[in-house]
């Protein structure tokens, strides 16, 4: 496959519709893989599948889910899992991932979707629920899933675990791996930690067991805030602090496939592609040549 890099690290970009033409016509400067959101491909046919199949002829893919709800107390919806499996079976991606959050709850006897990735109270009951849900998903799709840490906008009561401890335990007990979203940690630290985003995130990263890390996400947040809170809107280029944290993670935990997310106010392809080049230069600088 002509666009594979010989570098030590795989760099990926989120696949955006507006870039598809340029990607298909490009002969060079493509990332090592593209990430797609699983739910965008639940439909049975149509143009989006046709385009993705063409892109997949020359590029590897990562399938990233947003709706399974690995932390749902009401469990994983069977129909959603079937669709998720169908996308994975169709495209045989390099990586498969989802979020550690809840996305549905039963209200008045109906499963209602949250429209967002909502945080969990990290206690033993939640740990068991997550393990059961992750087991169900991994058994259904026949492979290991990467579980992503989310950005949260509320500080919940009742935690029995620190977030990093909870994530490590989930990996230990379920056999899944981690998708460490560095920007999410940074935004959480900016919003809720006295230490600020950078210091909070460095400490957070130091607590993660490196053998569980399967992938990194980096992203930028636009300058707008909501009632003083920074929102993880994936709406700008990656900030310097987040690049620094990626460097820190690479130095201390080793390298892993790294994806740059940009989902709102998406720039033209050359600007987005430049983010992949920055990531590659940063991480190649960490590669030890023995």
């Amino acid at each position: 496959m002509k666009h594979f890099s010989n570098d030590a690290v795989l760099i990926g970009l989120g696949l955006k519709n507006q870039h598809a033409d340029q990607i298909l016509q490009s002969d060079s400067n493509l990332p090592d893989f593209f990430e797609v959101h699983a739910e965008n491909y639940f439909n049975s046919g149509g143009l989006n599948h046709a385009v993705l199949k063409r892109i997949a002829e020359n590029s590897r893919l990562s399938v990233h889910g947003t709706g399974l709800g690995l932390g749902n107390h009401c469990g994983i919806e069977d129909s959603h899992l079937e669709n998720f499996k169908r996308v994975i079976d169709e495209y045989k991606p390099l990586l498969v991932s989802e979020h550690l959050c809840f996305t549905q709850a039963v209200i008045n006897g109906k499963r209602i979707h949250t429209g967002d990735l909502l945080p969990l109270v990290r206690n033993n009951a939640a740990l068991n629920i997550c393990i059961n849900n992750i087991d169900k998903v991994q058994n259904a799709i026949g492979r290991t899933i990467l579980v992503e840490n989310i950005c949260h906008y509320l500080e919940l009561d009742g935690h029995e675990f620190e977030e990093t401890e909870f994530l490590n335990e989930i990996c230990r007990l379920s056999g899944c791996q981690l998708l460490v979203d560095i920007n999410n940690v940074y935004v959480n630290g900016t919003n809720f930690s006295q230490q600020g985003g950078l210091q909070f995130a460095r400490h957070w990263l130091s607590q993660i067991n490196p053998r569980y890390i399967g992938q990194y996400h980096v992203a930028g947040s636009s300058d707008s805030t909501v009632n003083g809170l920074v929102v993880d809107d994936h709406g700008s280029q990656v900030q310097e602090d987040v690049w620094a944290l990626l460097r820190y993670a690479g130095q201390h935990h080793g390298l892993a496939p790294t994806l740059i997310e940009w989902d709102t106010q998406v720039p033209d392809w050359p600007v987005f592609a430049l983010e992949a080049i920055k990531a590659r230069q940063l991480l190649n600088g960490l590669v030890r040549h023995d």
Binding site: E39, F42, N43, S44, G45, G46, L47, A50, T66, G67, L68, G69, N72, H73, C74, E77, H80, N83, F102, T103, Q104, A105, V106, I107, K110, R111, I112, H113, T114, G115, D116, L118, V121, N123, N124, A125, A126, I129, H152, Y153, L154, E155, L156, G158, V226, N227, G228, L229, V231
Partner: protein
């Protein structure tokens, strides 16, 4: 007890977001805003012409709809199911019944865009040489739908597409003013683009016969009665994407 607390915590958090009370905390404001933004973005994509028709009222309509019909699916493209029926029931739109009808048309277009691909079955045309018309039936394109309206839904929808020819404005005005107006539509997809064709009543009735599984022989009898040639009809039906080929009855 811990299980109950956890169930309760997730239900309580989601209930608070759905209620979207004023003066919520900063964090709740983010979640409430995110959910609304996701809905408005999705519905803008699913119902672009309805958005034009409703203007500033579109966002409020979407938010009221999802408040009254909280989405159950993580597939955001499915959140729009039922929106057209809901619009039809809104008192504010009683004088504008075409808004709900256009929403229904756009929803059907979206369904066909997402449907499994179909292709014309060229080898099946060989059956015309091998079997008699009474032994054959027409295979209807499963990515096609028939609609008939007593409002100029098609012309109103067409007016808001980039391809609209301003020379057709006269037709639009006439159709809006015609108390006896009726239209017959075939919506179909063969390749990637969904097309909407205005067809006449005879074509509509013939397609209903095809959908019923009537034999090609019966269809030819009907074509003869209305003095339409089989080959002209076949070419037209292929053009509007209504049929894919033939099969033995």
């Amino acid at each position: 007890m811990v299980w109950y607390v956890m169930i309760s915590a997730q239900q309580e958090l989601l209930s608070s977001i759905l209620a979207a009370a004023p003066n919520e905390s900063a964090g709740m404001s983010v979640y409430i805003g995110n959910r609304r933004a996701v809905a408005v973005r999705a519905f803008s994509s699913l119902f672009p012409t309805v958005q034009h028709l409703l203007g500033d009222a579109f966002n409020s309509a979407v938010l009221l709809f999802i408040q009254q019909n909280p989405p159950e699916s993580a597939e955001i493209t499915l959140w729009g199911a039922g929106f057209a029926s809901w619009l039809e029931q809104q008192e504010e739109l009683i004088s504008y019944p075409y808004v709900a009808a256009v929403a229904d048309l756009e929803w059907r277009i979206g369904e066909l865009e997402r449907a499994a691909d179909t292709t014309i079955d060229l080898p099946s045309f060989q059956l015309l040489q091998e079997l008699s018309p009474n032994e054959l039936r027409v295979v209807v394109n499963q990515n096609s739908m028939l609609l008939n309206n007593f409002l100029p839904v098609y012309n109103i929808w067409k007016f808001h597409q980039e391809s609209f020819d301003m020379r057709d404005l006269h037709n639009l005005n006439n159709s809006i003013c015609d108390p006896n107006y009726v239209e017959y539509l075939c919506i179909s997809r063969i390749d990637w683009k969904v097309n909407v064709f205005e067809i006449n009543k005879n074509e509509f009735d013939l397609l209903l016969m095809c959908r019923r599984g009537d034999s090609l022989g019966d269809i030819i009898v009907e074509l003869t009665r209305i003095e339409l040639s089989f080959s002209d009809w076949l070419v037209r039906m292929l053009k509007v994407g209504a049929i894919l080929g033939y099969s033995a009855k």
